[in-house]
Symmetry: C2
Subunit: 107 residues, 2 copies
DNA sequence: CATGTTCTATAGAATCTCTATACGAGGTTA
DNA sequence: TAACCTCGTATAGAGATTCTATAGAACATG
């Protein structure tokens, strides 16, 4: 099933997604499924609280617009602190990833 | 600082550590720091609840023994279901790790 | 015996993510 | 216009994990 995220990876995925392109909420969710090849499927109940939290933190900013399907949609964009946060969390992920690989290989 | 884990990785690290060697609580913690090259430093307040939870789940079993320093210490050992769990969680980690790498590389 | 170290343990708070549900707006079809 | 579906946002409530802080017992050492 693998639909569940590791706690802490959601923010990084959202930051990365928005670094590539401004998107509205559900658009972010679709894009995450795409760039992780379906491994992560972010549900609305996880996504929106995360977006609000991250906007609160100043990493994102939002504006109302219109979606491809002519619906009212809130678009999100990375701020400058958001880009810095992306860099920080990417580094941290690399460190963790290397450490885990090293641990799992040990005999 | 990097002392904080991603939620969900602690169980895997404990399982892996005990697959190599039976150890008591603090011994596990030291060994995790070792095999992750200091990246993860598991504090008692995280470790003991995790050990109790995992024993409850049947992945570990424990017995009282004596530590290298002549202290009363509770040793933990992997059960058969524990080994299966280690395999499962290792696979899951690989999948997640690959998906994240793919996401972080996308442009 | 006073102090420090080792080892286990718990309470309480904080943080995330999930399930489930709701609601509004636009489009489609009968 | 009614019924219905889809898109998009939103929140409540639950569940799980980890952290900080604290405690206490046992042993060692000066």
């Amino acid at each position: 099933m693998a639909t569940n995220l590791l706690q802490g990876t959601l923010d990084l995925l959202i930051l990365k997604t928005l670094a590539l392109q401004e998107l509205h909420g559900l658009g972010i969710s679709h894009r995450i499924a795409q760039i992780t090849q379906g491994t992560f499927q972010v549900k609305p109940g996880s996504l929106f609280p995360a977006l609000h939290r991250m906007e609160e933190s100043g990493w994102l900013e939002s504006y109302w617009g219109e979606s491809e399907n002519n619906r009212r949609a809130k678009y999100y964009r990375l701020t400058v602190p958001g880009r810095a946060q992306l860099a920080t969390e990417t580094d941290e992920w690399q460190r963790i990833s290397i450490a885990m690989a090293s641990a799992l290989e040990s005999t």
